[in-house]
């Protein structure tokens, strides 16, 4: 039993003695006093847990004692012993914080019940105190932990390599880390809690996010990474990748968080990588090229010999045919040089409005003499709906010419003499509106191995007659135009090359703005 010590106060000695004896026999520790003043003395010295006091005493009465004790220690329990019907003093006692009342004459059972009740109260209070202390400790611990975590998170956001920007439900900016400040070129103190999404983001982006938040249709509120180009206040263009989380709490829109990654460095490295790969390819091509250049030299030497002979014999025919050989080989050197330059350098398509079908006609005119001389028929089937399109006519021309020349070569390689060789050029549009060029021949075709090696630098299936650059250059031009080349081929039956070029009006406008 914890609250064991009881102070009994009464001016009648007999009652004090009687109660004390009775309580002692119940296992309590008691002390006594015969007046209020006396009781305060004992209270201070012995610090009892419970005080049982008569209300009517000469000098300091029970009520005054109760008040004094409660002033000294409000946790002490005071039981008031009162006469019948003394309502006023009962009310006062209650006001002073008496814990219980017993009527005179004091009966043992009533006292026992009152004491037990007081003890329970004390026990509960003690427990409560210990709980409270416990709770306080736990709250303190939790607070430290929360502070640590929130500091950690703040640090995390602060030092993140991603620019992090978050908006509350009113689109005010509530998170804005240093990387964001660097990217948007605005100081945090001018932005945080001062700007809204419309002040920071370009209008189309702000509109987009507002719409996304309204829709709220996202299951997890997350959107996939997207790429865009950000224009800063100083008109600097930064390629970025960004992700978005729409924040909800209980179905209610709470705001959004954006993560931006600066892709400038990555884009630069990508470019460098492509460039160095291309230079390596040029290096690999050198041995193939040496062979090709040697053939050109042979042609030039042979041609000049024929010209010399023509001069010696005053034979105009000889001079002419020798000169033709020389010119043809000069042309080959020129083409080779151009191919190498095209392949080695990065080039942006020069997009303008042009008529794809007209380019087909031009290319056909360029090759038709040669094709005719070799019994190869060139046919075209152009979609009359092609009209004018935003394409790079240079790319279309060179790629087409290259593919058609390849097709003619493929016809000349085929051994089947009964075949009427044909190269057909077709145009059309995809559903998405991209220009499609098909070049089909019924020449020698390719086996799987040749097809796979087709775009490898220095690979040529034409012996010394090819540089191994032609298709490579074509592919590069087409890819720079964001287009594709597909090949369908069967050894001995022919090939179909399909070149698809999307329209690039935006590049066209850019070019025109410059």
């Amino acid at each position: 039993m914890s609250a064991n010590k009881i102070l009994i106060v009464d001016d009648e000695q007999a009652i004090v003695r009687l109660l004390s004896m009775s309580l002692k026999s119940d296992g309590y520790d008691t002390c006594t006093a015969s007046s209020g003043e006396d009781a305060l003395d004992v209270f201070e010295k012995q610090s009892p847990d419970i005080v049982v006091t008569d209300i009517k005493m000469p000098g300091m009465d029970g009520l005054e004692l109760l008040k004094r004790i409660k002033d000294l220690d409000p946790d002490k329990e005071v039981i008031i012993v009162t006469g019948h019907g003394d309502i006023d003093s009962t009310i006062t006692a209650l006001q002073y914080g008496a814990s219980d009342f017993i009527n005179k004459p004091v009966r043992d059972e009533a006292l026992a019940i009152a004491l037990e009740r007081a003890q329970t109260k004390i026990r509960i209070r003690e427990q409560l105190a210990s709980y409270t202390q416990d709770l306080e400790e736990k709250v303190a611990e939790a607070t430290v932990e929360i502070r640590r975590k929130s500091n950690f998170q703040r640090l995390l956001i602060h030092s993140s390599h991603d620019a992090i920007v978050a908006f509350d439900q009113d689109w005010q900016i509530v998170v804005y880390n240093p990387e964001a400040a660097r990217m948007f070129e605005k100081r945090a103190r001018n932005v945080l809690n001062k700007m809204t999404i419309d002040d920071l983001y370009p209008p189309e982006l702000a509109t987009f996010f507002r719409a996304e938040a309204r829709n709220g249709a996202h299951d997890r509120g997350e959107m996939p990474w997207k790429e865009m180009t950000l224009e800063t206040r100083n008109k600097k263009l930064i390629p970025v990748r960004y992700a978005t989380s729409v924040l909800h709490e209980k179905e209610e829109f709470m705001g959004i968080v954006n993560f931006f990654q600066d892709l400038t460095e990555i884009k630069r490295l990508e470019k460098e990588l492509i460039q160095s790969e291309r230079m390596a390819a040029i290096g690999q091509t050198v041995s193939g090229l040496a062979h090709y250049v040697k053939n050109i030299l042979i042609g030039l030497k042979g041609g000049s010999y024929v010209v010399d002979v023509g001069f010696q014999n005053s034979n105009m025919e000889k001079i002419k045919s020798g000169w033709q050989t020389i010119q043809k080989n000069i042309e080959r050197v020129a083409n080779l040089t151009q191919d190498m330059l095209t392949y080695a350098k990065e080039r942006h398509p020069e997009v303008k409005l042009c008529a794809p079908n007209e380019i087909v006609t031009e290319v056909k005119a360029l090759v038709s003499d040669f094709a005719q001389a070799n019994d190869i028929e060139i046919t075209t089937r152009c979609d009359p709906e092609m009209g004018q399109m935003w394409l790079d006519p240079g790319t279309v021309h060179r790629a087409l010419l290259n593919l058609v020349n390849n097709a003619i070569d493929a016809c000349m390689e085929e051994d089947d003499l009964d075949r009427q060789f044909n190269v057909e050029i077709r145009t059309g549009k995809t559903e998405a509106g991209a220009a499609v060029f098909e070049i089909e021949d019924n020449g020698c075709g390719m086996d799987e191995e040749t097809k796979l090696k087709l775009f490898t630098p220095m690979f040529s299936s034409k012996g010394g007659k090819g540089t191994g650059l032609g298709l490579l250059v074509t592919k590069k031009l087409v890819e720079e135009h964001h287009g594709t080349i597909d090949i369908d081929t069967r050894l001995g039956y022919g090939s179909l090359f399909t070149m698809t070029l999307p329209e690039r009006p935006e590049t066209g406008r850019d070019e025109n703005d410059k």
């Binding site: 062979h291 040697k294 053939n295 030299l297 042979i298 042609g299 030497k301 042979g302 041609g303 010999y305 024929v306 002979v309 000889k318 045919s321 020798g322 050989t325 043809k328 080989n329 000349m412 390689e413 085929e414 051994d415 003499l417 012996g463 010394g464």
Partner: protein, 130 residues
Amino acid sequence: MGKKILVVDDDPDVRTFVVTVLEENQYTPLVACDGVEGLEMIQKHTPDLVILDVLMPRGSGIRLYRHLKTDDALKSIPVIMFTGIALRSFLKSQKVLEEFKGEKVPEPDIYLEKPVEPQELVDAIRKKLA
């Protein structure tokens, strides 16, 4: 009229060159642009010598050479191989063919790797026709 010499080569520049060399040295040139045409010309004109390219469309020089050397009526016609292919590669390819076909064809009399000076070609022809 000089002796008839057939040039089989798909490259018109090479044909012009060789024909000029032949004319300058009082031979009578004949030309064919591929293996099939070459055989036709040989059967029709029975040239005294054939100058033969190796890599050509429609029946390569290799096929024509093997045909000539295994045809009793034609095997006596001397052949000069005149090509951009290295001799080593050519001989290796022939060895593979021989093992596969089980027939032995004599090595070409003269094998000239392009580029060839006009005099070199003339010397080779003279040597064969002497």
